[in-house]
């Protein structure tokens, strides 16, 4: 089986498996974030659970980190190999005649998403690690208060228009990445029939999930 994952097809399959996991993660992330709009108290409770539960923190989170790192590293490795396989390019190439822009430029949408993840980590994940594991405050409370800090922190972040614009742009590129990536993952694992059946589901996912995140960012900007 080790030889399989060294082959070109094995690497495609591995990319697809990490993509399935990340697409599932996006759904649960969106579901929790939507709570920040509809029910801030529940959002706080779920955030506290996710941030302090040992299974989530020390079993699921490492898997997520591995999937994210793997997807990016393998994406770059495959892109470099593919560029090398290309014979230097054409003087005239009409790519639009046979494929979509977003399917040909997954690396561009991918790099945009990577830049967003760096921003997102600086905004939320690194401060969270600092509070919990460096300062040792696992209470999840605002300093000197008896209220959870999660909703307050989220709303505070989206008060800045530049951050909202950056998030919206990143989510548009996430949508473009998913518009090809969703069905592409099924094709890579050999599920060609599912790829065709799930075409509409894939398009809906690629539009609705990023749109959900965009709505949340804009909602908090106007309601902070």
């Amino acid at each position: 089986m080790g030889g399989f994952f060294k082959s070109s097809i094995g690497r495609k399959v591995a990319m697809a498996l990490s993509a399935f996991f990340l697409m599932f993660f996006l759904l649960q992330h969106l579901a929790i974030n939507l709570l920040s709009v509809f029910n801030p108290d529940t959002f706080n409770e779920v955030s506290h659970f996710m941030g302090t539960n040992p299974v989530v923190q020390f079993a699921l989170q490492p898997v997520l980190i591995f999937a994210v790192v793997f997807h990016f590293v393998m994406g770059f490795i495959l892109d470099i190999k593919n560029r090398k396989a290309n014979g230097g390019g054409y003087v005239k190439n009409n790519g639009a005649a046979n494929s979509t822009w977003f399917s040909r430029n997954m690396i561009i949408s991918g790099i945009t998403i990577l830049a967003f993840i760096v921003l997102h980590f600086i905004d939320f994940w690194f401060p969270e690690l600092n509070v919990k594991y460096i300062q040792g405050d696992m209470s999840g409370m605002l300093p000197g208060e008896t209220e959870f800090r999660y909703h307050e922190e989220l709303v505070h972040k989206f008060a800045h228009p530049a951050r909202v614009v950056a998030y919206v742009v990143a989510f548009v590129f996430l949508g473009l990445h998913l518009a090809h990536g969703f069905t592409s993952a099924f094709q890579s694992v050999g599920a060609a029939a599912l790829r065709k059946k799930l075409n509409t589901v894939g398009n809906a996912y690629a539009i609705l999930v990023p749109l959900g995140f965009i709505v949340i960012a804009i909602y908090h900007y106007f309601n902070h």
């Binding site: 190999k81 290309n86 494929s99």
Partner: protein, 246 residues
């Protein structure tokens, strides 16, 4: 019609090539693209110039030799055709047409528009066959029951002529549509089962060794394939390789 042709000229595999402009006049819209190239070459020979080297053989769409990248597409702007089946009626009087060889690291240019596609032959040699006893007591293939659906799908895969348009079109120069078709045509039939695992492993290993890129499922190859080979064949190859490794 009168046309301006921008053609890739390259003396040999070690030389650096470049685009050269040519004018051709009084081209009939009923000509095939290769006949138009014949007119140009006659013109070049008459004026003492080196004719443009290009591959061609059957001129009826089955040999897969006429590899040309025309106006940014393998075999030109028409669908489901090779270059010999592309007619000049697809172009307008006064057009400028860009003609390049198929580009891929695994398809080095030999001269002008001629590329070396022996990599495909080596992939075929790695497993694109079935071992049949031909000592005189060969069983009639028709005595083995095969469903109509499987036979049709195998036949569809077998229509691949190995022209390399898939590789030329793919931004990654991936050969997976070709290899997928060759794996599928046997994977779907009982005669192909005995060597199925070794076939797919060896053909994919050779494909990787030749330096073809990875498929990223853009679907461009399927659109440009002159024989309409479906992406389903790539998915089947992926399944076959997974099955062979489990």
């Amino acid at each position: 019609m009168n046309l301006t042709l921008k053609i890739w000229r390259q003396k040999d595999s070690s030389s650096k090539g470049q685009m050269v402009d040519y004018k051709v006049t009084e081209i009939s819209e009923h000509m095939s693209f290769l006949e138009m190239m014949d007119v140009l070459n006659e013109q070049l020979v008459n004026s003492g110039e080196e004719p443009v080297a290009f591959d061609h053989d059957c001129r009826e769409g089955i040999c897969g030799m006429c590899s040309m990248y025309i106006n940014g597409e393998a075999h030109g702007p028409d669908r489901g055709v090779t270059t010999c089946q592309l007619h000049m009626r697809m172009f307008k009087d006064g057009d400028t047409i860009t003609i390049e060889p198929f580009r891929a690291a695994a398809f080095p240019v030999i001269k002008d528009l001629v590329v070396d596609r022996m990599a495909f032959e080596r992939i075929q040699q790695a497993g694109g066959y079935i071992s049949v006893n031909t000592s005189g007591n060969t069983q009639d293939a028709n005595s083995i029951p095969i469903s109509k659906h499987a036979a049709d799908e195998a036949m569809d895969a077998a229509t691949c002529i190995g022209c390399g348009a898939c590789v030329a079109t793919c931004k990654n120069s991936s050969a997976m549509l070709f290899v997928g078709a060759k794996v599928s045509q046997y994977a779907l039939l009982p005669q192909g089962q005995v060597e199925a695992a070794d076939r797919v492993k060896n053909m994919v290993a050779q494909m990787d060794l030749e330096g073809f890129g990875n498929c990223t499922n853009t679907g461009a190859c399927e659109v440009e394939c002159p024989k309409g080979i479906s992406l389903d064949n790539i998915a089947r190859m992926n399944r076959e390789l997974m099955k062979a490794n489990i």
